[in-house]
Symmetry: C2
Subunit: 296 residues, 2 copies
Amino acid sequence: MDIKKNAPIGIFDSGVGGLTVAREIMRQLPNEQIVYFGDTARVPYGSKSKNNIIKYSRQIVRFLLSRDVKAIVVACNTASALALDEIKDEIDIPIIGVVRPGAVTAVKSTRNKRVGVIGTDATIKSELYTEYIHELDMDITVIGKACPLFCPLVEEGMLHDEVTDEIARRYLSGLQTENIDTLILGCTHYPLLRSTVSRIMGEKVNLINPAYETAMSLKQLLIENNLLNDDKEENDVKLYVKKSEVILPENDSDDGDYNGKYEFYVSDAAGKFRTFANSILPFEIESINQINIEEY
Amino acid sequence: MDIKKNAPIGIFDSGVGGLTVAREIMRQLPNEQIVYFGDTARVPYGSKSKNNIIKYSRQIVRFLLSRDVKAIVVACNTASALALDEIKDEIDIPIIGVVRPGAVTAVKSTRNKRVGVIGTDATIKSELYTEYIHELDMDITVIGKACPLFCPLVEEGMLHDEVTDEIARRYLSGLQTENIDTLILGCTHYPLLRSTVSRIMGEKVNLINPAYETAMSLKQLLIENNLLNDDKEENDVKLYVKKSEVILPENDSDDGDYNGKYEFYVSDAAGKFRTFANSILPFEIESINQINIEEY
């Protein structure tokens, strides 16, 4: 492959949720450049059909390829579950999603072989977490539950709110009686509700955020393909203002070095994306570019 | 104009909400054929930018024109507020939205000249209801309030639910102290929350559903343009199974004659649309066609 090591990594999501994955990649691979795309014009994916999610993912992959990325991370559970299998054979660079890393972590975590998965309608209906978990261990029982209101609640900023608590209690009540010891947060928005979910499920249930394992898998993939960036000088430009007081999601200690070059693209107006991004990322984004994704 | 009287009326919305408008048109104009398009692939519009809503509306208008419609109803408050002005000069057939009819009704309704409007972020930010109301009466005070979680709650079917009540109380608390006597339900999903909103606002506040006045305006527009269908035989085909027990939204008495020919198109999978449509319309939809709207 004629791919440059110092080329950026492409990351995409239906919107802002994938920034929780991008943040983890920035932390574990601080020497890498990133091109992030959020499909804010067509968000949410979780209630839409497989055909459209494949079509949207293909357009985004074409856009990222036009930015000369060396690898792609599908930082969206729904697109990982419904589109990754289709598109991975259509491109020449490494591509990974968040579902397999999440499944691998859950298999490592469970002791009693009972695992829960929460996600969008589309992700849960795809049953891909179950499939990947069973590839590793057929004896594990996987119980899925769609939580369609979690995304709008997170996007409204209602992370600590009695309404969110009540909705979470309803969604999780079935899982509470299933004796699971591991619960996959199978949507990139859900780590922002970690404390609510944790309170309801109890401390004996281990919550899996696939972002961490995804960043680990990406690193491994770059090493295997001899694509890890070792060109330090290239990335020395400090493009971002560091926050004096960083607001990070709960249970998150963050001390990475964010001096890489990060580009952000969206398919709708950047305003809401910027607000959300700046509450998730440990630096202020200075520029966000809007593109017409339907042209790709 | 060389438009046939027996051509269908095109109606579009970002998704299912516009069916509340379609239903009113079916009732008031039972002799008309309808082509309905729901943009379920790109729903919701309410959180998206003006440029994209204009682009989406243009594509849909081109699709409806390809179905030889004689007039178009923008049965979506957000698209009416952000795109109608742009697209009305680009086509040769009559087109109306729901915002002006809603504004007209509110002006007729208010006695104390204090009117509230609830809608999506985009509709409220556009301030188009205020503009249209002020064209009729500059002395009316208009107070707008965005209710972004109402749509997802309605789409989850949570019409009568303590969580919806709590969210509604929060959204409406500011309006409760504004001494309004009229409140415009400025999103086509909101008539389905009429009883909740009514309970919170009190019986002295008149709730305006723009759908009724929109159907009246459409009839007037068709008469003025000599486009009202008087070709009874054309529509005599009974295409739909009447429901033995019709589930209608609250406060709705429905005894229209639904023997017109109604076509339904969506841009994503039809499953959820069908369920929602069959809970709103007084007959069972038999076929829904999925199209690729980005091609128009």
